[in-house]
Amino acid sequence: MNKLKILSKSIWVFHFASAACNNCDIEILDVLTPRFDVERFGVKLVGSIKHADAMLVSGMMNRKGAEFLKDLYDQAPKPLAVIAFGSCASSMGMFKVSYNRVIPVDEIIPVTAYIPGCPPRPEAIIDGIVKVVKKLRGEI
């Protein structure tokens, strides 16, 4: 039984917002709501990292937040998919000159997928989820 295949059927998402502008976070919630409804794919938002199968990281990593990212990644039960969400998380975007920045997400923890956009449109998010699912199943 392929563990990741099962995982792809039921992805419980923990949302880690580092220094984000809120839009990514709002759009994450948005895909749960009636128009987009990702519960169709078994996606659910959970409050505790211990229940998570995927960690959505949004926003740029600032000095106070980056520390916790590593911690939370360690605390999560594996296998765990990490999704860098939005431009800031993917590449630090316009905050690359901020004095409070640290290093990008993918240099702290391994990232499974990037969903770019500022913020990513819900369609892009769903596309990202589908790609994560495919990747977990080994189709990509």
Binding site: S48, F68, D71, L72, D74, Q75, P77
Partner: protein
């Protein structure tokens, strides 16, 4: 062997120990051995009772006696082991009182004569007073205990006197109904067992006395004796239904009130002591039904309660021994360091909350059926209310024990490194707990074979409950769980706790002590608890206050001025004259 042997043996042991010097090390071994010898004698006598012909009139030897007879020896053994590990100073005196208590307990249950019973009854009260003094600072509580128990003795004497008028003999014989005799003797039984309204000595005693003493007397022997007396009086007097229902109501009120008090206590021993009271309520309720089912339940509950309650007290003693406090706010997270104490206390607290398939459930189950049977006979509504009080009481019991277990053993509290050494469990303290906790399970699962069949033969139950099957299924389920664990090849990894990302800090430990803060501070409970805190429900304190008030009044009159006395005398004389005139 002679039936008097247990009494004589214990009396001799008590006397010898009293005059021997305080050899600590040998005494620690000898005392448990003596207690073991005692139970060996007891078990032998249980199967081969040898009652000399000429004393048959003086000895009671029926099922009730046998039951209590065995358990007195049992608790003697278990608690002597624990006491040997716990008590530090004046061991010879302590064990002397200990065996004296055993002797008096045997005396009470064996005697078929009220006078003998009263003498032993008094002795057991005094030994408790003496044993409580082994903790410094227990003087006041000991005094209170002695006054209340002594007071109840006088009730007992009064009751016996009335019975003597009715039957013309001091033998424990069946008699016609007498309200005064019943009330007096029941009051003595209630005081000994700690039923409301004579419960007030138990919290003070438990708070101040050493835990093995609390476990030995108020938690086990006093319950056995008090309920024994109540059961005895129920067996010799035919009780009218009104009195039965009143006894049941007193029992249910005790259950609910005491458990509500227990819910909000902030020290472990006080919390347990209120449970010691509330559990008496169940026994009284069971016996109060007056039908065989209820009485069987009450008696079985008496045994069970003594077992798990002493287990709980012993566990608390262990906790107090290592952490030097029993204040719930200051404790937590001890399960790691005291695993055996934790497990046995957990079992005992499940048993006291009446979770199937443990012994507490079985005896409560009998009591409920007894009460249900009683509803068919008289006062259905009130009986149902009693039943509900008992049922809800066990939910409340559960709640307060969850609080206790959480506050003592679980939660996020961390201890510094090296605490393992400090918090070590001692064999002599742990062993009795294991025995008691195992008895909880064994008596629960094999209740039919061990209790019902020998005592009642074929008791007809309206509801059957197969603890053996349930136990089997639970074991099957646990095995199943373990199998699933193994099949799915689960890896277990220890990580930091999750509290939103930030590290857990010492001040984030939520203590069980605050569990019922909401109830405590919500109306109308705040008002009632406020009154309870002022000791307005404490008969002893109220009477004491009244006595002081009267004395103050007298003192005001007694001011030492001669003319005042003269005028009082004059006024008295005039009143007497007037009264005589109109007669």
């Amino acid at each position: 062997m002679n039936i008097f042997l247990p009494i004589i043996f214990n009396l001799i042991v008590a006397f010898v120990l009293f005059i021997t010097p305080d050899w600590k090390k040998p005494l620690k071994v000898i005392a448990p051995i003596l207690a073991f010898a005692n139970i060996v004698i007891g078990v032998y006598l249980l199967f081969n009772p040898n009652i000399p012909e000429k004393y048959t009139a003086w000895i009671l030897w029926d099922n009730l006696t046998k039951l209590v007879f065995f358990f007195i020896g049992f608790f003697g053994l278990v608690l002597s082991i624990y006491s040997a590990g716990f008590i530090k100073k004046k061991l010879n005196k302590y064990f002397s009182y200990f065996f004296l208590t055993l002797a008096s307990a045997y005396g009470i249950i064996l005697s078929a004569n009220w006078i003998v019973l009263i003498i032993f009854w008094g002795i057991s009260g005094i030994t408790l007073y003496l044993m409580m003094q082994f903790n410094s600072g227990a003087n006041l509580a000991a005094k209170k205990t002695l006054i209340i128990l002594g007071g109840s003795d006088s009730f007992l004497i009064l009751g016996v006197a009335v019975l003597y008028r009715l039957t013309g003999s001091f033998g424990i014989l069946s008699s016609t109904w007498s309200m005064i005799a019943f009330v007096c003797i029941a009051a003595a039984a209630f005081a000994k067992a700690g039923n409301m309204p004579f419960h007030i000595w138990i919290p003070d005693c438990a708070d101040k006395a050493p835990p093995p003493v609390t476990a030995f007397m108020p938690a086990s022997l006093d319950k056995l004796l008090g309920i024994y007396l109540l059961a005895r009086i129920f067996s010799i007097i035919t009780i009218p239904p009104v009195v039965k229902i009143s006894v049941m109501l007193i029992g249910s009120i005790t259950i609910i009130c005491a458990v509500f008090m227990a819910l909000t206590q902030h020290t472990a021993k006080k919390l347990l002591s209120y449970h010691a009271i509330s559990q008496v309520g169940y026994m009284v309720l069971g016996i109060g039904t007056g039908n065989p089912l209820g009485i069987a339940g009450g008696l079985f509950h008496m045994i069970n309660n003594s077992i798990y309650k002493s287990c709980l007290f012993l566990g608390t003693g262990q906790v107090e021994k290592v952490s030097k406090t029993d204040h719930l706010d200051k404790l937590g997270g001890l399960a790691k360091y005291l695993p055996i104490t934790f497990t046995s206390m957990l079992i005992a607290s499940f048993a006291i909350s009446g979770l199937p398939p443990l012994n507490g459930f079985f005896s409560k189950w009998l009591i409920y059926q007894g009460v249900l049977a009683a509803t068919a006979e008289q006062y259905p509504f009130l009986s149902i209310l009693c039943l509900l009080a008992a049922l809800f009481g066990s939910a409340l019991t559960l709640a307060s024990f969850m609080k206790l277990m959480h506050a003592l053993f679980l939660g996020a509290k961390k201890y510094p490194k090296g605490a393992e050494k400090k918090f070590k469990e001692k064999f002599s303290l742990v062993f009795p707990q294991i025995i008691l906790a195992l008895s909880c399970i064994v008596l629960g699962v094999f209740a039919f074979d061990l209790f019902i069949k020998p005592m009642y033969g074929n008791l007809t139950l309206t509801g059957l409950w197969h603890p053996k099957m349930a136990m089997l299924l639970i074991v099957v389920g646990l095995v199943l769980g373990a199998l699933i664990f193994l099949i799915s090849r689960i890896k277990i990894r220890r990580v930091k706790g999750f509290a939103g990302g930030e590290g857990l800090r010492p001040d984030m430990h939520i203590s069980g002590a605050d569990f019922y803060e909401g109830i405590e501070n919500g109306q109308p409970f705040k008002f009632i608890y406020g009154l309870a805190e002022k000791k307005l429900f404490d008969l002893y304190e109220v009477l004491k206050a009244m006595a002081f008030y009267v004395i103050k009044l007298l003192r005001y009159l007694h001011n030492g001025v001669l003319t005042n006395y003269l005028s009082w005398i004059l006024a008295g004389g005039v009143i007497i004259l007037v009264v005589i005139w109109f007669m």
